[in-house]
Assembly symmetry: C3
Homo-oligomer: 138 residues x 3
Amino acid sequence: MHQATHTLVVATKGRGLVEITAEVRHWVAAQRIATGLLTLYCRHTSASLLIQENADPDVQKDLVAFFEDIAPETRAYVHDTEGPDDMPAHIRAALTQTSLSIPIISGAPALGAWQGIYLFEHRRSPHRREVVMHLVGE
Amino acid sequence: MHQATHTLVVATKGRGLVEITAEVRHWVAAQRIATGLLTLYCRHTSASLLIQENADPDVQKDLVAFFEDIAPETRAYVHDTEGPDDMPAHIRAALTQTSLSIPIISGAPALGAWQGIYLFEHRRSPHRREVVMHLVGE
Amino acid sequence: MHQATHTLVVATKGRGLVEITAEVRHWVAAQRIATGLLTLYCRHTSASLLIQENADPDVQKDLVAFFEDIAPETRAYVHDTEGPDDMPAHIRAALTQTSLSIPIISGAPALGAWQGIYLFEHRRSPHRREVVMHLVGE
């Protein structure tokens, strides 16, 4: 058994989902681990991770709209020193994932046919986000 | 240290929680790993995983009702090509878990006394769902 | 490669977030694992885990208020045998995390600069909560 780690840097364009499936698959394939466990970890509290449908881009629009509605910028927040979009971003991150673990079978993440891996940017402006990947297996 | 993987196939009866604790425990016990890490991964974007109370079945009714209300079918979604229950299902899956990791202590998952492992079906009609299990330890 | 496990007991003061970052870091450091994977698991269904901002305490106030509003005690629940704050607690736990996995890099959890690890108590009264930690690596 052995391990590998790598930090993926993801440039976001402001609020929305950025698919990282190809980058993740590429790095996993290069580690030559047939069976194992992949963990993705988002090092931020105003961005998060999400497994979602990768077929119809409209799904992403509806997801973004839903999270905007459920934790709106217009809500009265105590924390507002980092801008009106910061506290809603923390809530939306809390409602989704900071870490994701995906088994590796036959050298690849065991994603379902319609599953993509996304970084979900919750701030309005573009950011540079870090996703730490850890792989253990043989 | 060694690993094991297995795919659990779960037949759902439409919207609701299906407890899979017994199946998971049974498979883990057969691997004869005393200390380790169990990861469950749901290969779908309209079903998800959840650890919840296994004592009072009414908890499940309230959970289902809550998720129906928070992401109702009556909301205006852009994505509607797969039926009115599809986009709400994606949102409900985003709000719960695609992966769960549970330490193995003394050969069994370290679940709390009142914890059960559930597959949460978010579509109206019955589906066949796949949960990939990965175990590493010794 | 080797493993270690430990159960952290967290005393809560009722509803709110309790930071456990220092305890987790301390235990991880003592295991002398340079590269690995840390998993935290909450053995309860009315408390949960959350990675959140550790800079401004107001973020915690807004998070608590948000989860009180989204799953209020005043909602009509079928399950009410354990008090009016129990079913909302189950829902708030379902919306956050039961397990968290964090890569270990250079002997420490790969947390971002502003990330803290929190136990989120969802019941009104103080509780004694167990968080199982599992570490694998070398």
